[in-house]
Symmetry: C2
Subunit: 401 residues, 2 copies
């Protein structure tokens, strides 16, 4: 039986399209959980390697499991030469997200199990993807700057090795740990646009790499992964235009008065503070102190505070800072260029994408989602059952005349 | 206000997620229209170039418009060298769909207007994509066979030039015309899985190439674009196992008895014959006569006939042949290898994808779809408001013990 449900132009907001065991958001209360665990606890007590394992396997790893998982991730850092060769042939001006979307299918070509569709093989593919995405991003950054990609340092954990492969400098331990926390915070977020794109693509029985490449494409959009970079552009504008902190309020009011958005504020799902924002705000403050960029933190908190009040005054009580509001400043303090911020998001979210792809492919029979194939309301020409009159080419007149 | 609608595990079947003016399916009556015109009429009286224009612009072109559009498509056949260089570095065993998914973002890097998001620039991007997708597929086929890609023959129309760039032989005119009809038939089909993937990706404000690459990924799945190739595998099995046409019935019954599918039969939307199937069936018969492959046509019609009756006997009255049932035989008779059949689908569908991407990006304000961000029913662990107890690594016991 076919439903005839009109939900058009709502972006499917609030429509439960499948079951999931991976993550859960309570938007009213500002709660995010991965596999039952609160994000606040995971951010403090866990690591991205544990989280990737948790999302994929459903349980936190034992010590032995974590060691094995980590060995697999480290082994995956060896990216085949043809991928580097292909990267070296690209225009140096290419956006890192476009390069990543192109490279993910190439990583698929390098996967000996690409066409093997067992659950176990999909878990191994996920490990390879999680291991390789940061290597590719760092390699592209070096290649576009005319430098050779660096070999991985296999003594370094995931986030630290990325910073090493990016810059060729051994990262500060605390900073690497902060980046690891950022990866924990961004690893999953239920059926966001990129995750749904992954699930949509593999619902056709396409392989994991086809799905993840689509996820990268969706994440590249400025309404999704691109938001933190836009916060940084906004921050630069404020820094340039505002003489003192007191002028921030005027700047915010003027911007809202022109009907413009404050980037990094408001969320489709959270009706209160995004719990990830709270953690990133603290990190921005601490790193600001350490790196001498306390001004960014001060300006951001001021914008945050003023904008929230202004929105409330406009009757929008729930517009608060989201995950993107403070993360850009954090990444900047770590030396990550603005156009690598969305790729860093991908380094983390690839864990969630892979977990969702596996769930989509291997849900138990009764909970098995079908291929996503929605309908649309046809509002175009319709000339009755025999259709519009087809005029031969020679007799047509331009509609634009 | 957030809806709380549970449609889980229905694949959004019948759920109208947006308005569209591009195409319409009346599944009950087997009607497919593009912009108001019946597919049967377009197949006989139109050409793929006209259809690409129609889907993108909303009206059939005048003679002058068609000539200009065709010039733009022909100009787009010049693919930048770095794309060929990148292709030459890939493993020769790579699946053409994987290569295409990787190459579409590279074509984006070659587009001087990649980041320009006006409606006009998106129309020009669409022209470039429609012109270049067949060139890339033909080039990859030659590269994987150790041959140099061929330059396009700009005196040849779209389908004929593809056959030329693929094989280096001037195609038979009638055969090229038949391929052009196949492209007309496959150019759009409302909100199918790949088109919805395109729309999902660009709903984040990602660019057209990011969307089309995702569409290629979705089309690569065996439940979507891969079906005609699987019909050909089935046909090869029948040819090998069946001595006479009379044995076909036994083969079909035996297969259905084992609970297996008949590839290319049944459709999520059509409850009667797929109108495209009727046209392709006739084409399979005619080309069969011409190329000496009438046996394929005879076997297919027999399978079609028996399977339809058998399904009806099982209480499934509406399982009829779909667009994929006869198209594989048609492509084989044209000399198109089985693993290029889904890429040929992409050569056509890219027109629909681009039209839908433009519609998604530029729908009038009141009909503007929002970013697609559905919800899910969380059925995983939930340990109350403070979450599950986080055990330190050293204390964890393996769940699998």
């Amino acid at each position: 039986m076919e439903a005839d449900v009109r939900l058009k132009n709502t972006g499917l907001r609030g429509v439960k399209v499948a079951d999931t065991k991976i993550s859960y958001i309570d938007g009213e209360n500002g709660i995010l959980i991965y596999r039952g665990y609160r994000i606040e606890e995971l951010a403090v007590r866990s690591s991205f390697m544990e989280i990737a394992f948790l999302l994929l396997e459903g349980t936190l790893p034992t010590k032995a499991e974590l060691e094995q998982f980590n060995r697999n991730i480290v082994a995956a850092r060896q990216v085949p030469d043809f991928v580097y060769d292909a990267l070296k042939h690209l225009p140096k001006t290419a956006s890192p997200m476009d390069v990543l979307q192109a490279t993910v299918p190439l990583l698929g070509l390098a996967d000996p199990e690409l066409e093997v569709e067992t659950k176990e093989a999909n878990h191994r593919k996920a490990t390879r993807l999680i291991g390789r995405v940061p290597v590719v991003i760092a390699a592209w950054h070096r290649i576009r700057n005319g430098e050779e990609p660096l070999p991985s340092d296999n003594t370094l954990p995931h986030a630290a090795n990325f910073l090493w492969q990016l810059s060729g400098r051994k990262p500060d331990e605390e900073m690497a740990r902060d980046l690891d926390i950022c990866l924990v915070l961004h690893a999953d977020h239920t059926f966001n646009a990129s995750t749904f794109a992954c699930r949509e693509v593999v619902s056709t029985q396409a392989h994991m790499y086809a799905g993840v490449s689509a996820g990268v494409g969706a994440l590249s959009g400025s309404l999704h992964g691109g938001a933190n970079a836009r916060v940084m552009e906004m921050l630069a504008e404020v820094e340039a235009q505002v003489k003192s902190e007191d002028d921030v309020a005027a700047w915010v009011k003027e911007r809202l008065g022109r009907g413009k958005k404050i980037m990094g504020m408001g969320h489709a799902v959270y009706k209160t503070i995004d719990p990830r924002s709270t953690i990133l705000k603290r990190m921005s403050q601490e790193l600001g102190r350490k790196t001498g960029h306390e001004n960014w933190y001060r300006l951001l908190t001021k914008i945050d505070e003023v904008a929230e009040k202004e929105f409330a005054g406009l009757g929008k009580a729930n517009i608060k800072s989201n995950v993107d509001f403070y993360s850009g400043s954090v990444y900047s303090m770590m030396g990550i260029p603005i156009d690598l911020m969305t790729p860093v998001f991908a380094i983390s979210r690839v864990a969630g994408w892979c977990a969702h792809i596996i769930e989509e492919k291997f849900a138990e029979a009764q909970g098995k989602p079908a291929l996503y194939r929605p309908a649309a309301e046809y509002v175009g020409d319709y000339c009755g059952p025999i259709g519009c009159t087809f005029e031969p080419l020679e007799e047509r007149k331009s509609a634009s005349v």
